[in-house]
C-alpha cells in the first residue's frame, strides 16, 4: 500500500502524516527519530510524544537526564500545537511525499542502515533507487578538471543505467547531476535518473543557484531529504545528509576533495557501512585534489572513467563503450569544409581564435559549419571554445 494514500475510509490520517509531523518538530534529531520509529508505528509514536511518554519507551531518550536539554519537553509542547491534518494537506498540495522506517515504500538499502533516517520527504519517483546506485561527491570549490570529470562520470554512468546519487551542492555535486541531465537529454529512455539528497527541506532549494537543477532532478529522478519541509539547512544537517548519500549507494566516488572536505564525511560513513569507496586522482599540486590523493594513498583504488566504476559494480565492459558512433562513418557524411573544421578542433577545448587560424575560413562559413557539426554532435562547446566529442 502506498504510504502517501490520502485519508482512509474512516477519515483517519495515513501513518505517513504522523511521520511527517514527527520529523518537523523542533529538536528532532535523525538518530532519535529513527530509533523511535523502529520501535513504534508513526501513529503510536505521535501519541507517545503528545503524552510526553516518548522517553519511557525509548532507551536513548530515557537515559538522558530530564530537565533542560532533554528533548522530551520541547517535543511534547510543540506537538500539542500542531494540526496534523493541516500539515498533511500542505505537504500534499506541495507535491511532497513522505515515507518512513517500516513503510513499504521506504528505500530498501536504508533498512539495513545502522543509522537510518526515520522519515524521508521526497519529490519525484523512489523507483529511481531500484537501479544500481553510485554516489559522486566532492568539493564545492572545484577546479575545471574536477567539474569536467564529474560531468563525464555522471553522464556516462547514467547512460550505463546507473543512478547517480549526489548532494545537489555547488561544484562537483552539481556537475555530476548536470552530466546525468545531459545524458537524459540526449537519450531520454536509455539513461537512469538522478538521486539528489538534500540537507534542507525538499521544498527549500539550497543553494539558490541550483534551484533549476533541483527542479530538473525532481522531475527526472528523485530529490529526498530527512529534514522537515520548510526548514532551511543547518550546518549539522550536512554531515547527516552525507551519511544518507553513503547509505543509499553501492559505490562512493570522490572526484575532488580538499584535505578536510565535507565529502570525507561521506567516505567515513561509507567505510563504516562497508560500502566501496573510489577516488579520482588529481594533480599532486592541486589543493582541490589533496583530500582525494590522500585517500588514494590510504587505500581505495582510483577511478579514471565510468568504466572503472561499473567494474566495481561487477559489470565488466569495454570502455569506452563500443556503441559510440564511429567517427570515420561520421566523417563520411561531411563535406570538405566540415572535415576541415572538424580537423581543426582538438579533443581538448580549442578556442575559436585557434580554429579560425587553423582553417583560414571566413567567419560566416566557419560559424555555420561549427553549428552544423554541433547539431550532428561531432563537436560541443560554448561558442568561444569547442572540443571534439569523438577521437
Amino acid at each position: 500500500m502506498p504510504s502517501t494514500a490520502s485519508k482512509g475510509a474512516d477519515g483517519a490520517l495515513p501513518p505517513a502524516a504522523y511521520a511527517a509531523v514527527l520529523a518537523s518538530l523542533p529538536g528532532t534529531g535523525p538518530i532519535g527519530l529513527g530509533e523511535l520509529l523502529r520501535e513504534h508505528d508513526p501513529h503510536t509514536a505521535w501519541e507517545l510524544v503528545l503524552r510526553g511518554d516518548a522517553g519511557r519507551s525509548n532507551k536513548r531518550i530515557a537515559d538522558r537526564p530530564p530537565g533542560p536539554g532533554s528533548r522530551e519537553a520541547p517535543w511534547s509542547v510543540a506537538a500539542r500545537q500542531v494540526d496534523v491534518a493541516a500539515h498533511w494537506r500542505r505537504l500534499q498540495d506541495g507535491g511532497i511525499q513522505v515515507t518512513f522506517l517500516g513503510d513499504a515504500a521506504y528505500p530498501a538499502p536504508l533498512c539495513q542502515d545502522p543509522q537510518p533516517p526515520g522519515v524521508l520527504f521526497y519529490q519525484g519517483a523512489l523507483a529511481t533507487l531500484d537501479q544500481p546506485r553510485v554516489a559522486i561527491v566532492g568539493t564545492r570549490r572545484c577546479t575545471g578538471y574536477g567539474r569536467e570529470t564529474a560531468f563525464a562520470l555522471g553522464r556516462d554512468l547514467a547512460r550505463a543505467g546507473v543512478s547517480v546519487v549526489s548532494g545537489l551542492a555547488l561544484g562537483i555535486d552539481g556537475a555530476a547531476h548536470a552530466g546525468v541531465l545531459a545524458a537524459l537529454d540526449s537519450s531520454p529512455d536509455g539513461a537512469a535518473g538522478p538521486v539528489g539528497v538534500a540537507a534542507s527541506g525538499v521544498d527549500r532549494p539550497y543553494p539558490r543557484q541550483h534551484r533549476d537543477l533541483w527542479r530538473k532532478v525532481a522531475r527526472t529522478g528523485v530529490v529526498l531529504s530527512e529534514t522537515g519541509c520548510g526548514q532551511p539547512a543547518q550546518a549539522w544537517r550536512f554531515p547527516a545528509r552525507n551519511r544518507v548519500i553513503a547509505g543509499l549507494s553501492e559505490v562512493v566516488v570522490v572526484v575532488e576533495s580538499h584535505v578536510r572536505g565535507g565529502s570525507l564525511y561521506t567516505v567515513d560513513a561509507a567505510l563504516d557501512r562497508g560500502i566501496e569507496v573510489r577516488a579520482v586522482p588529481g594533480p599532486v599540486t592541486s589543493s582541490s585534489s589533496a583530500g582525494t590523493n590522500q585517500l588514494l594513498w590510504d587505500g581505495p583504488g582510483p577511478v579514471r572513467h565510468a568504466g572503472d566504476v561499473l567494474d566495481v559494480l561487477g559489470e565488466v565492459r569495454p570502455w569506452p563503450p563500443p556503441d559510440r558512433p564511429d567517427p570515420r562513418r561520421l566523417d563520411g557524411s561531411l563535406d570538405d569544409t566540415g572535415r576541415r573544421v572538424l580537423g581543426a578542433v582538438d579533443q581538448t577545448p580549442t578556442s575559436m581564435t585557434v580554429i579560425a587560424e587553423r582553417t583560414g575560413l571566413g567567419f560566416g562559413q566557419l560559424s555555420a559549419t561549427l553549428l552544423r557539426l554541433e547539431t550532428g554532435q561531432m563537436v560541443r562547446g560554448g561558442g568561444s571554445w569547442w572540443e571534439r566529442t569523438h577521437p
Binding site: E148, V354, G364, S367, L371, S384
Partner: protein, 510 residues
C-alpha cells in the same frame, strides 16, 4: 555712466550669451559684481583692477556696479574678465561705444594686462550673436572653428585698446586650416594573429556594436581596442563641430587646427567616479568621459575592476545616446553616443577562458562574473573571447610567413564605410540602431536562418532581446560581404558565435 559689452558663459557643453553691464556713479569707491557670479567670476574684480593699472589705463575711483545679465543664470569662469575691463573703459570714456559696437569679448586677464585663453571657447563663440569676437591669441583657431564670426585677437589689454581705437592694426586672423592634422590612430597592421579579434573590431566599427573582449592577460585586448577608432569613418563636418564643442567645453587639448576630425578615443582608468564618467559636478557641469567619447570610442579596460555602481550609470546613456544631468541649480543634457569597448579577464586568475585551464574556485569565478551586471552585459552586442597569439605569429619566420602580412586599417575602413552608407540608406547611422519594429523589413531571414533562430529560441539558448541583437549583428555580417536583402544562415551563425557568454565556462556545465 553706463556701458554694455556682450560676452558668453558656459553651462555644460553649451554657451549662453551674457551682457556685461557696467555702471559708474558718484559715491564711495566700491566695485560690486551682481548677477550670480561664481567664485572665479567674483575674483575678476582683482584681476581687472590690476590689469587696468598695469596697462596704464584709468581705474575709476568711484562707485562701480557690474551686472551680468540675464541675472537668473549662474556664471562661472574667468572668461568674463575681458568684457568687464572693456565695459569699464567704455564707461570711463577711454573707449567710445562706437569702438566696441558689434564686438563680443571672451578672455581671462593676467595681472600684467595680458589676455589668456579660457576653456570652452568653441561653444562660447557659438553662443555669440555679434559679427566680431575678440579672444586670446592662443585660442584663435579654436574660435574660428565655428566659422560665423570675424575672430580678432590681441596679446594684451593695452594693444587691444589701441586696435579698437584704430591706432594699431589687428593681428592677422588665423588661416582656417584644411589640413587634417589630427593625430593618427595606431594601425591594425601591427596586430599579429587574432583573426577573431580583428574581425570583431571590424564588425563593431561597421555596425556600431558595443563589444566586450575577454581573455587572459597578454591576449592583446587593449591593443585591439586602441585600434578601433582608426577603423571608424572620419567625422562629418557637423559631427566634427559637435565633438569639438564638447572637447572644448571639457577643457581637453584640441589639435592645432582647432577641429577634431577623427572619432575620439577615451580610456578612463577604473578608479573613475560616476560623475567623471557621466558628467556633472556642482559648479561647472563638466561633460564626463562618455560625452568626451561622443561619436567615438569609450574603452573601459579591466571592466570588472570598475565599481558596480559606476558601471550601472552607463546603462541609460547607452540606450539613449545622451545623458541628462540634473542638479538643484541647473539641468543639462550631454550628448553621449559612443561605441563602448570593454576588456576584462574571464576569471580572477585570468586563465579561465577555456574550461580546465584556470586555478580559480567556482565561487571565486562566480563572484568575478557577478561584478558586471546582467543588464550591462546584455548591452554588449559582441562578446568575444581572445587567446594569446602563437609564438609563430608573434615572430614570423623569414621563409614561410604565417598568414602573410596582416590587413591594414585603411582597407578595413573602406568596408566599414560601405556598411555605414548602407545603414544611412535605411535611415539609421549604423546597424546597431536599427529599430526593432523594422527588423522584419530591414533584416529579413532566409528559411535556414529562421529555422536556426527558432530552435535556439525554443531551447532557451536565446532570449527575445538577444534575438533582436543577433539580427542586427547578422545584418552587419551580410553588409560586410556586400549582401543586401535576406540574412543567410551563415550570417546568423556568425552573429550567434560573436555573442557568446564570456562566463559560460564558469556557470554552465560543459
Amino acid at each position: 555712466m553706463l556701458a554694455t559689452v556682450p560676452s558668453a558663459t558656459l553651462l555644460g557643453v553649451d554657451g549662453h550669451p551674457v551682457i556685461v553691464e557696467v555702471h559708474v556713479s558718484n559715491g564711495l569707491p566700491t566695485f560690486t559684481i551682481v548677477g550670480l557670479p561664481d567664485t572665479s567670476c567674483r575674483e575678476s574684480r582683482d584681476r581687472v583692477r590690476s590689469a587696468l593699472l598695469s596697462s596704464h589705463l584709468p581705474w575709476p575711483s568711484r562707485r562701480v556696479t557690474v551686472n551680468l545679465a540675464p541675472s537668473g543664470m549662474r556664471k562661472g569662469g574667468a572668461g568674463l574678465d575681458l568684457p568687464m575691463a572693456i565695459a569699464l573703459l567704455v564707461a570711463g570714456e577711454v573707449l567710445l561705444p562706437v569702438h566696441v559696437e558689434g564686438v563680443a569679448f571672451i578672455g581671462e586677464l593676467g595681472l600684467d594686462g595680458s589676455i589668456r585663453s579660457v576653456p570652452g571657447v568653441v561653444p562660447l563663440v557659438d553662443a555669440v550673436t555679434e559679427p566680431t569676437v575678440v579672444v586670446a591669441a592662443g585660442c584663435a583657431r579654436e574660435a574660428s572653428v565655428v566659422g560665423r564670426h570675424r575672430v580678432r585677437t590681441a596679446p594684451s589689454l593695452s594693444s587691444l585698446v589701441d586696435c579698437l581705437r584704430g591706432r594699431q592694426a589687428w593681428a592677422e586672423p588665423p588661416i582656417p586650416s584644411i589640413a587634417d592634422d589630427n593625430p593618427r590612430e595606431p594601425d591594425l597592421v601591427d596586430v599579429r594573429g587574432q583573426r577573431l579579434g580583428r574581425f570583431a573590431m571590424e564588425v563593431a566599427a561597421a555596425g556600431g556594436h558595443h563589444v566586450l573582449l575577454t581573455g587572459p592577460p597578454g591576449a592583446g585586448k587593449t591593443m585591439l581596442a586602441r585600434r578601433l577608432p582608426g577603423l571608424l569613418p572620419p567625422l562629418s563636418p557637423a559631427e566634427a563641430l559637435e565633438v569639438t564643442r564638447i572637447h572644448s567645453a571639457a577643457g581637453l587639448r584640441l589639435p592645432s587646427s582647432g577641429l577634431l576630425r577623427r572619432p575620439p578615443f577615451r580610456a578612463p582608468h577604473h578608479g573613475a567616479s560616476a560623475v567623471s564618467l557621466i558628467g556633472g559636478g556642482t559648479a561647472g557641469m563638466r561633460p564626463g568621459e562618455i560625452s568626451c567619447a561622443h561619436r567615438g570610442v569609450l574603452f573601459l579596460d579591466e571592466l570588472a575592476e570598475f565599481p558596480a555602481a559606476v558601471l550601472d550609470t552607463l546603462r541609460q546613456p547607452l540606450e539613449e545616446g545622451a545623458v541628462r544631468i540634473s542638479r538643484a541649480r541647473a539641468s543639462v543634457v550631454f550628448p553621449a553616443r559612443f561605441l563602448l569597448v570593454a576588456a576584462m579577464n574571464p576569471c580572477p586568475c585570468g586563465e579561465g577562458s577555456v574550461p580546465g585551464a584556470c586555478r580559480c574556485s567556482e565561487t571565486g569565478r562566480a563572484r568575478y562574473a557577478g561584478r558586471v551586471s546582467g543588464p550591462l552585459l546584455d548591452r554588449f552586442d559582441l562578446r568575444v573571447l581572445l587567446e594569446r597569439p602563437d609564438v609563430a605569429q608573434l615572430l614570423p619566420s623569414g621563409t614561410g610567413d604565417v598568414g602573410g602580412i596582416p590587413e591594414s586599417s585603411a582597407s578595413v575602413v573602406a568596408r566599414v564605410i560601405e556598411c555605414r552608407i548602407r545603414a544611412t540608406e535605411r535611415g539609421v547611422r549604423c546597424n546597431a540602431e536599427l529599430p526593432a519594429p523594422r527588423l522584419d523589413e530591414l533584416a529579413p531571414l532566409a528559411p535556414a536562418a529562421r529555422t536556426l533562430l527558432e530552435s535556439r529560441l525554443r531551447n532557451g539558448r536565446l532570449s527575445a532581446r538577444g534575438l533582436h541583437r543577433v539580427r542586427r549583428i547578422a545584418r552587419t555580417m551580410a553588409d560586410l560581404v556586400g549582401r543586401s536583402g535576406r540574412l543567410e544562415e551563415e550570417d546568423v551563425c556568425a552573429a550567434l558565435l560573436l555573442r557568446t557568454d564570456p562566463f559560460a565556462s564558469a556557470s554552465v556545465e560543459p
